[in-house]
Amino acid sequence: MSSKDHRTEIVQSIHSKSIKSISGDKFFKALVIGASIYALIMVALVFYALTEGSLPILFKEGLHFIFGTDWNPVEGREAFGALPYIIGTLVSSAIAMTIAVPISIGIAIFVNELVPGKIGTVLSFIVELLAAVPSIVYGLWALFVFRFWLRDYIEMPLHNSFGNLSVFGQTPFGLDVFTAGIVLAIMIIPIISAVSREVIKSVPHSQKEAAYALGATRWEMVRTAILPYGKSGLLGASFLGLGRAIGETILVTMIIGNAVGLSAIPMSLFSPSQTLSSIIANEFNEASGDLHLSALIGLGLVLFVITFFINIIAVFIVSKVTKSNSNLRE
């Protein structure tokens, strides 16, 4: 092989490499754009399919489909209103969030600040194991074990001592919004705490050291350095959990008591209720009337819109918090 040949070979290889890298860039760009377009198209298609499927019921019931409380699939007397299930969804998720958010952030702070190192890693690993448990397992456990425990040791005492308050008014049965909320909380704690842990980990040491240098105790350091710095991340983590809680189906179906129509609006913590996704899961298989089917798809649309708005609110709050944070830092 002559030296000239060798040189051309090198030039060629560089040339072909640069061509390759250009086409690689293009390819990568196309791939990324394609992926995001794909996601957008999927969302648009879901929205289209839901809207199209729910047109018959929207034409029949109009706004009454959102604010009505009747749910009657009997042929000849169809009437469908989503309000009880909207309320059921929001109430059960609210209970779950009230319990899960403080506990999750507590776990995250504990793991990062109080027991850093091996114990913290082991502990967070155990908490994250909870995220790997399928929701139907939580559901079965709640149905066969947990609800009796909850009824006998928490609900009954509450009902007996505060029964004249309407919140604890109904005789507890163990299958109600309260149980659903608590089990949902257990289910979303690993998600919220895992994300919160990363958020808290990313708080710069300088912030914490500064707080300590000013004579802050550990709690004061958490309150003045970690929480304000990580606010937007912690909010984001919570909304991630909320999204999971709102859409959860099979677990809720097993323990929420599945009331229908007006009686599905929970009048107390111990009332049976129903969520948008649970009634879809309950009735979709056997829905034979066209209106009934359309009403169930309509509930899917309502759920879609609710989730959509919650996400918008989340983005809005997070951006606001981030802005005020950066103002603080300046």
């Binding site: 009657n72 009997v74 007397r77 299958l175 009331a259 309950n282 298989n285 056997e286």
Partner: protein, 368 residues
């Protein structure tokens, strides 16, 4: 160079092989497949264990026929039947007027019978509770709220009833069991009929909903002072207390395979032909002194002219008819061990007439 051309040669021969091999296998397959028939069905979950047993047992009778049954629920079964994506549908409730009109000449073939029992959890009460239709309706309407209500006491004078509130448990999922139960309540109570009505899922005035027979049974066994309804087959295999019910003749009858069969036999003379609409057929509140009042058929649905469904050819038509003829006669011996009620002879006769009325492209189907 030689290396590349060698590779090419190998590539070409591989390509040729990959085309040839499936061709050979396919032609062998199609020669073999001429006797193999797969019948696809979908529908009600209630008869699934029985149909699945038939699938296995029928292989011994005719090894060339495969039965494929997807238990997706009656609603789905009717839908797929109307869309002609399955060879037969199965449903717990007969076709509604709208669906009967939508399908072109459908036929109903009752293939087995189920009944619904009232199951309860009453600590301290050991004798079977006696209930009547109107009392059950009042409990499920939320009008009778305590166990020691005078109306329940009147039926059970020798039982000391607690004064605890009654917790009503019903199915939360759409179900044929709910259809039968609400059909019975609608017949027996004008108030139920006007306020709630009958369907696979209804607007329950009170109570807690649990998914499936298992869900209802778990809710009842776990909670004292509750009452709900489950399928007979389910109640027989699980250790649940169930009520004796007052029938049309005024007798209190224990739910069992025999008392359900008595109800069906008593109603057999009023049944329509398989080709007529069955919308109004109901075995609930049947006459006869031993008849259990909450019973129901579950149906296989077919087109009278089998070629209405383009996926059915002459051979498949023949196989469907042979299979069903076997299922309603010899196949019935598998019902009892599974907790199903076998068809009485009068109903088998109606089914046989329906099967012999089926046609393929206008001509009757011989199963010989």
């Amino acid at each position: 160079m030689t290396c590349i051309s060698n590779l090419k040669k190998i590539g070409v021969s591989l390509l040729a092989l990959s085309i040839l091999i499936p061709l050979v296998i396919n032609s062998a397959n199609s020669a073999y497949a001429q006797q193999k028939v797969t019948i696809n069905g979908a529908g009600a979950t209630f008869p699934f264990p029985l149909i699945d047993t038939w699938r296995v047992e029928y292989q011994k009778v005719n090894p060339n026929v495969n039965i494929n049954y997807a238990s997706i629920g009656s609603g789905g079964g009717i839908k797929q039947f109307l869309e002609k994506t399955v060879d037969f549908g199965a449903t717990d409730a007969p076709l509604s007027k709208t669906d009967f009109a939508k399908a072109v000449n459908p036929v109903h073939i009752p293939e087995t019978i189920g009944s619904v029992v009232l199951s309860y959890n009453l600590p301290g009460v050991t004798t079977p509770l006696k209930l009547s239709g109107p009392v059950i309706a009042d409990i499920f309407l939320g009008k009778i709220t305590k166990w020691d209500d005078p109306k329940i006491k009147q039926l059970n004078p020798n039982v000391t009833l607690p004064s605890n509130p009654i917790t009503v448990v019903h199915r939360s999922d759409g179900s044929g069991t709910t259809f039968v139960f609400t059909n019975y309540l609608s017949k027996i109570s004008p108030e139920w009929s006007s306020k709630v009505g009958s369907s696979t899922s209804v607007q329950w005035p009170t109570g807690i909903g649990a998914p499936g027979n298992e869900g209802v049974s778990a809710s009842i066994t776990g909670s004292p002072y509750s009452i709900g309804y489950v399928e007979l087959a389910y109640a027989l295999t699980s250790k649940m207390n169930y009520a004796t019910l007052q029938n049309k003749a005024g007798n209190f009858v224990i739910p069992s395979i025999e008392s359900t069969m008595a109800a069906v036999s008593a109603s057999a003379s009023t049944l329509p032909k398989g080709t007529d609409p069955w919308t109004s057929v109901s075995l609930t509140d049947a006459p006869g002194k031993n008849s259990y009042p909450i019973a129901s058929f579950t149906y296989i649905i077919l087109y009278k002219e089998l070629s209405t469904n383009p996926s059915i050819d002459a051979q498949k038509a023949k196989s469907i008819v042979s299979f069903l003829s076997w299922a309603i006669t010899d196949g019935q011996k598998f019902s009892k061990p599974l907790g199903y009620v076998p068809l009485p002879p009068a109903v088998v006769k109606i089914d046989q007439q329906t099967l012999s009325a089926l046609t393929f492209k206008g001509s009757p189907i011989s199963t010989k």
